[in-house]
Symmetry: C2
Subunit: 296 residues, 2 copies
């Protein structure tokens, strides 16, 4: 039983072994699976500007998985929930042919104006993104292409296995006046497109301005791809992309600086035009970036 605040928002998210992750040597460990499942659900709340409330975990456990492993998964998920200000309040365990984790996250707000949707961006808004991008895509490339795991790429691997949903940042940006916000779970290119379509504006993104996470550049070099491609395409970075009136730029920067020092990068503008997102490279040429769900 939970004492409610005025408004609740609820997010559900599931990850399935063999689809969204692989377990074992060179792939995810069990704690990472718990953190990533929790991050996916909490990150949705962050994008709405909600305050973290309760989380509920459904575990589907294959016969071969030791109880200690399941406990470790829940412990890791719970640890991340607590860091984000959420409370693990219940769950269910069922048998399943492979490991699956479904997380329900409930957030709260006192007033409707505290919450942000994807549909409020206006022509003229600045487009901002919190933190750094590309670690999740870089880690996936390292794992699936079997790239060298040297010290230069270690930060990307570490960051991808320790996602940090931006709950406090999302709440602060909502209060600072963000008009639209989304969490980057399917890749910036895809998620910016979601905001543009929902708001009926065109988000014009300059790829050279995307903030790169440590360890992304050497992976891009090994792949022979531009680093911004990993930043624009990779899902599960769990940063926030938001649109805000230029008058509120300094206020947004200040509230995040005061909070955790989380940086904001200004990566483009919302404009009239075909709704969606248009990405351009250093020379101003339009670039098509296919987003993808993070698999494995």
């Amino acid at each position: 039983m939970v004492r409610a605040r005025a408004l609740s928002v609820t997010s559900v998210d599931a990850i399935v072994e063999g689809v969204h992750f692989r377990l074992g040597e060179g792939w995810a460990d069990i704690a990472e699976v718990g953190r990533r499942a929790m991050a996916g659900a909490l990150s949705d709340l962050a994008a709405m500007g909600a305050q973290a409330g309760e989380v509920y975990i459904v575990l589907g456990l294959p016969a071969g998985l030791a109880e200690a492993q399941a406990m470790e998964l829940v412990r890791a998920a719970n640890g991340l929930a607590r860091e984000c200000g959420a409370v693990l309040a219940g769950g269910d365990v069922v048998a399943a042919p492979m490991l699956l984790v479904s997380v329900t996250a409930v957030g709260w707000a006192e007033r409707a104006e505290e919450l942000v949707g994807r549909d409020g961006a206006r022509a003229g808004d600045l487009v901002g993104v919190t933190g750094q991008l590309g670690a999740a895509a870089a880690a996936l490339a390292i794992q699936s292409a079997g790239l060298d795991r040297g010290a230069d790429v270690a930060p990307a691997l570490s960051r991808a296995s320790h996602p940090r949903p931006r709950l406090r940042e999302g709440h602060a940006l909502a209060r600072a006046g963000a008009n639209a916000m989304i969490d980057i779970s399917d890749g910036l290119a895809t998620d910016a497109d979601h905001i543009g379509r929902a708001s009926g504006v065109q988000l014009q993104i300059e790829l050279a301005r995307l903030p790169l996470a440590d360890g992304v550049r050497p992976v891009a070099a090994a792949l022979g791809e531009p680093a911004w491609l990993l930043a624009a395409r990779g899902g599960e970075d769990y940063e926030l992309c938001f649109c805000i009136d230029p008058d509120r730029r300094e206020r947004a920067e200040r509230v995040l600086r005061e909070l955790h020092g989380t940086p904001i990068s200004w990566i483009g503008r919302a404009a009239d035009g075909e709704p969606g997102a248009v990405l351009s490279d250093e020379r101003g040429g339009a670039v098509a970036v296919e987003g993808f769900e993070h698999r494995w």
Copy 2:
């Protein structure tokens, strides 16, 4: 975004193909899967006496499942939710190696006293059960033992594939003063034992008093088992088992009669003694009944 009432309760429940159901000729159809997943989550709310609120569905879809099938599952689940007064408010779809459905159900109450737990039964309470038992176990026996599907067993098959969580009944029984309540999802024997252990009392159940659903007797006869065994053991009947002071017996009967005419059967008493449930047959001999999760 949902406008909250004072208190919320949340239930999560998942069912997985190959573990909790099988699809196909002679087994579950896709609509039944949706209803059963929804029933499992809503039934938990019923047992707490909460008013139905919002439901959220996570679907894990295998590659071979047609979109129309997935739609039919959601339509059936949503239909049951609406019958119970709940509103489908969101969800998520992921790829999965086999069909899985996870449902989160949120219920509401204005005051803590409106809600009932499992731990409030007192020595002297009457033990009641709503509706009829045994259909789910009978249907499972028909399917897994390949029993004849004649007209005499059809009501059990139909009922098992159309579960009806007792939300309005649970709310009414809570207001009528039930001291403890549980939904019968793991079988009466197991679930009554849960109440007894949580409350520190012994639920003394007379098996001959268990209300049998239509179609259960012929299945029991074909199996050569007593009919009460199917009623006591079978999960997923989604009736409510509750404990209430004898002074409130008539009030409980009246509120359910006024609601839908749902009958109550008085099946035993709570008493001092080893906490749990003790089941006895017509001759008064104690009977051990192993509960089990409904699989397939």
